[in-house]
């Protein structure tokens, strides 16, 4: 089938490929240009219920599949594999309709020359492609049957498919052998999908298809790309926020052995050399002075991000929140700046030839790089090809800013492919971060001990504005869509008010795994614990008491009941152990954690975590367990240790010696409980990250009586002693 693609490729519309993340939102925005408070609340209502669908529309199977001579089938995945196991999930879904053994399906990244590309993020790879992959696979199967019916001159209805074979009463041919005989493909109509009751693979444990390469050290990542004649780049950036070059001396750099070219721009100086060592040595020899704003420190940023400062947008106003009076219980929380710290830094290999460029990169959002390269170098988008590779971690860091424009300019300067990598220090100082947040919560208990009124004010920098058109900021007023994600109180409470306070920060901020849900769940679920304590009620029962039987709260209640039983929540425990609980509803997935802590040598030690998750339809159970375990560890890291700080207009963090992350010694016993509480799959990559921080803080309170109100908790715990 590969050979027949050429004609089709010409007609392949790149408009599909250019659909950007949040495109559904753009439509909502266009309708609501007159926005002020009521309309912003309406948008918030819509967004909180919205599922972000697939950003592809070309379902021609020739763009998705290739039939191979050995009767295997290659699926060209529009989504990148960044550890979430999507290649395996897609293979399982395709196998349901292709009537071929799972191990006969190979999965590779689609590229802009041969397939359909999509943005990878917001935990929707499975949910938004759950139907599409099966539809395209089913169309391919029916296309094969249609071609066989022509070859054999019999009706399609007399042909069946099994294990990669087309079978009629007296004839049999493999998919591959049939494909060899077809010169002109007629694509069948999209058939009705098989019922999920008949699934052969979905829901059963499958080994991940990407792991053999990964344990053998095969060259599959962006950083591993090697092209003939390739040379190496290195770039000097300002370590300060928004630094501009004041003066520069590159004479020593030029004299470095192996240096081919030096490129000077306003905000960076690039070197191309025959080896990376030569390029990096030359960069170290550049003397540069930067113009920058020197007096920005962590305290200034915290002040900027404080409830009462910046633009105020009320997004939820149910009932009468005047019920929250001065006698309310008040809780104030902070979360710090967070770095993604993917182990594979930003990497791109750019090959510029004659106003055309091919980019080899491990990146979540191909449309974004195509746009920035097109704008920066005035190259038609049709002339920018993107070849995705496996990502060495993503977590939201590989959705926007990258070094792609620098790489293209360096390649253009030397006329050769250039391999360009961020250093670890650049990854900390020149990328983007999760913005810090500040939360003020107020609650009032009724005479029945239930919450009568609940108010949440959150101050944050934006996460979504990089993904949305420029017009989004004035319309929305604050980023309640992404940074504010999870700020609305989901419990059944008669009077609820939620307000987002917006300020832009003097450095780049955007999405980090879990987006706003991480900080907002820390604040809300810590405060729920506080209210339960004030109401003299068990925190788990208190939460159940605030769930009615509407769909999502019903699912929440069920998960609370499951985790209570599995964690032995109501059983007694040793006196040196604290136990805490938290739960969230993120992207239609319910995720709850019970955490046990001890205090060892004066430090918080997480000893056990039980996570219960309802991700809707389960595709690969062990794939979900991996994601939950991983999110748990990343969340323990972000909760206990991680904190970006600022001194003199720059991030103080430069490497892992001053940005502590979890190591093996931090790993607790982790148990994951899966519960399939809906017919459609929902997100798994992000939801389980959010309950961990509040569950740890609540466990510390349970053990010590100290309420920790800021992350990182280890630091808050030390400060609580003094």
């Amino acid at each position: 089938m590969e050979n027949t693609d050429k004609k089709n490729k010409k007609g392949f519309s790149r408009r599909n490929f250019l659909a950007i993340s949040g495109s559904g939102l753009t439509g909502v925005l266009a309708l609501l240009y007159f926005g002020r408070q009521p309309i912003r609340r309406k948008i918030s209502d819509i967004v909180s219920e919205m599922e972000i669908g697939a950003d592809v529309s070309d379902l021609d199977p020739k763009l998705w599949f290739e039939l191979n001579a050995d009767n295997t089938i290659t699926l060209k995945s529009p989504k990148v594999e960044m550890g979430q196991g999507i290649f395996t999930g897609f293979a399982m879904l395709a196998a349901e309709e292709l009537d071929i053994q799972l191990d006969k399906i190979k999965v590779v990244h689609a590229n802009s020359k041969n397939g359909v590309l999509s943005n990878t993020g917001v935990s929707n790879s499975t949910s938004s492609f759950y139907v599409i992959i099966r539809e395209v696979a089913a169309t391919l199967r029916e296309t094969l049957k249609l071609q066989a019916s022509k070859l054999w001159d019999i009706p399609v209805s007399s042909i069946s498919t099994k294990d990669g074979m087309l079978i009629s009463a007296d004839k049999k041919i493999s998919y591959a052998d049939l494909a060899k005989q077809i010169s002109k493909w007629e694509i069948a109509q999209k058939p009705i999908l098989r019922s999920s009751n008949n699934f052969k693979y979905v829901g059963k444990e499958a080994k991940r298809i990407d792991l053999p390469d990964k344990i053998l050290g095969k060259p599959i990542y962006g950083i591993d790309v090697t092209l003939p004649d390739m040379v190496y780049g290195a770039v000097l950036y300002s370590p300060y926020f928004n630094g501009k070059l004041k003066s520069v001396d590159t004479s020593n750099a030029k004299n470095t052995k192996g240096v081919l070219k030096i490129v000077e721009e306003n905000t960076w100086i690039g070197v191309v050399a025959t080896t990376r060592f030569a390029a990096e040595t030359a960069v170290e020899r550049i003397k540069a002075d930067w113009d920058f704003a020197p007096n920005i420190n962590t305290k200034d940023i915290e002040k900027l991000i404080t409830v009462g400062n910046g633009n105020e947008v009320n997004i939820q106003n149910d009932g009468d929140t005047n019920k929250v009076s001065n006698q309310a219980i008040i809780g104030e929380f902070r979360t710090p700046i967070g770095f993604h710290a993917c182990l594979e830094p930003s990497i791109v290999v750019a090959d510029y030839q004659d106003n055309k460029v091919t980019l080899y990169t491990s990146f979540q959002n191909p449309a974004y790089i195509q746009t920035v390269v097109s704008e920066a170098l005035d190259i038609e988008k049709e002339n920018i090809d993107i070849i995705p590779a496996y990502l060495g971690g993503g977590f939201g860091r590989k959705s926007f800013k990258s070094n792609v424009v620098e790489a293209v300019k360096l390649s253009k300067a030397v006329g050769k492919p250039v391999h360009l990598l961020y250093t670890r220090q650049q990854e900390f100082q020149n990328g983007y971060v999760r913005p810090n947040t500040h939360h003020v919560l107020k609650g009032k208990l009724g005479k029945d001990g239930k919450i009568l009124a609940f108010e949440h004010d959150i101050a944050t920098g934006p996460m979504a504005f990089k993904a949305l058109p420029a017009i989004a900021e004035p319309i929305l007023g604050a980023d309640f869509v992404v940074a504010g994600h999870g700020s609305r109180c989901a419990y059944q409470i008669p009077n609820i008010k939620t307000t987002v306070w917006h300020n832009n920060l003097p450095f780049e901020t955007s999405m980090w795994r879990g987006v706003g849900m991480f900080a907002n769940t820390f604040a809300i679920e810590s405060f729920m614990d506080e209210l339960a304590y004030k109401a003299n009620e068990n925190p788990l029962k208190f939460r159940i008491d605030h769930c009615d039987d509407t769909v999502q709260l019903g699912r929440r209640k069920k998960i609370l009941e499951i985790i209570a039983e599995k964690s032995g929540w109501h059983l007694s425990k040793p006196t040196d152990i604290g136990r805490g609980l938290a739960i969230c509803d993120d992207r239609k997935t319910i995720s709850a954690a019970v955490v046990e802590v001890k205090i060892i040598d004066g430090l918080i030690k997480v000893t056990k975590v039980i996570q219960a998750i309802d991700p809707g339809k389960i595709i690969n159970p062990d794939g979900i367990r991996q994601q939950v375990e991983g999110a748990t560890m990343m969340a323990i890291s972000a909760s206990l240790y991680e904190q970006g700080t600022i001194e003199n207009g720059q991030f103080e963090q430069t490497n892992f010696h001053n940005y502590q992350v979890v190591r093996l010694s931090d790993a607790p016993e982790i148990e994951v409980i899966l519960h399939e509480g809906a017919d459609m799959p929902s997100g798994v990559g992000e939801p389980p990250i959010a309950p961990i921080a509040p569950a740890i803080a609540n466990a510390v309170f349970n053990l010590t009586g100290k309420r920790l109100r800021s992350l990182p908790l280890q630091l808050a715990f030390q400060e609580s002693k003094s």
């Binding site: 990964k214 093996l664 010694s665």
Partner: protein, 157 residues
């Protein structure tokens, strides 16, 4: 400088700057890509490999120190792809990697730990390996090293 090295049992002669990190020689000159760059300051362990059997972090190890020595990378850990080292076999059995980027370094560290301590306890593993993983495969890494020890001791691999 001219260097003579044995890389995964293959004698190799190269001419590079004497203070180039061994990582870049292995990756860019010899084109063995399994050893990864993570931090450049010997903090994360993604670049771990063996020099004369010693586990080192190659991002901070000048090539001149490796002259005349035997290097083993992840590509040379197993005899061949059909006879996996017990560590790699166990890694597949327990489905450890997620993004997989740090895993070569972890496998090299795990194989070394088992060579020195065939029956490690959970505490030995936690204290013996300080590599960084951002995907959070830590619980499985602890489990998999216990399994690899068993596979190795049973002589199955």
């Amino acid at each position: 400088m001219k260097l003579t090295l044995t890389i995964n049992n293959k004698p190799t002669t190269l001419d590079v700057e004497s203070n180039m990190p061994l990582l870049w020689l292995i990756r860019d000159e010899v084109k063995l890509k399994g050893t990864k760059f993570g931090c450049g300051k010997a903090q994360c362990g993604a670049c771990s490999l063996y020099v004369d059997g010693e586990l080192i972090r190659s991002c901070s190890y000048p090539v001149q120190m490796a002259n005349g020595k035997k290097i083993t990378t992840i590509e040379g850990l197993s005899e061949d792809e059909t006879h996996l080292h017990p560590v790699q076999q166990a890694w597949l059995d327990i489905q450890v990697p997620q993004c997989g980027y740090c895993q070569s370094g972890f496998m090299m560290a795990a194989a070394k730990l088992l060579a020195e301590n065939p029956n490690p306890t959970v505490e030995d593993i936690k204290n013996g390996i300080s590599n960084i993983c951002r995907c959070g495969t830590h619980p499985r890494i602890i489990k998999v090293i216990l399994l690899a020890a068993k596979l190795k001791n049973d002589g199955k691999h």
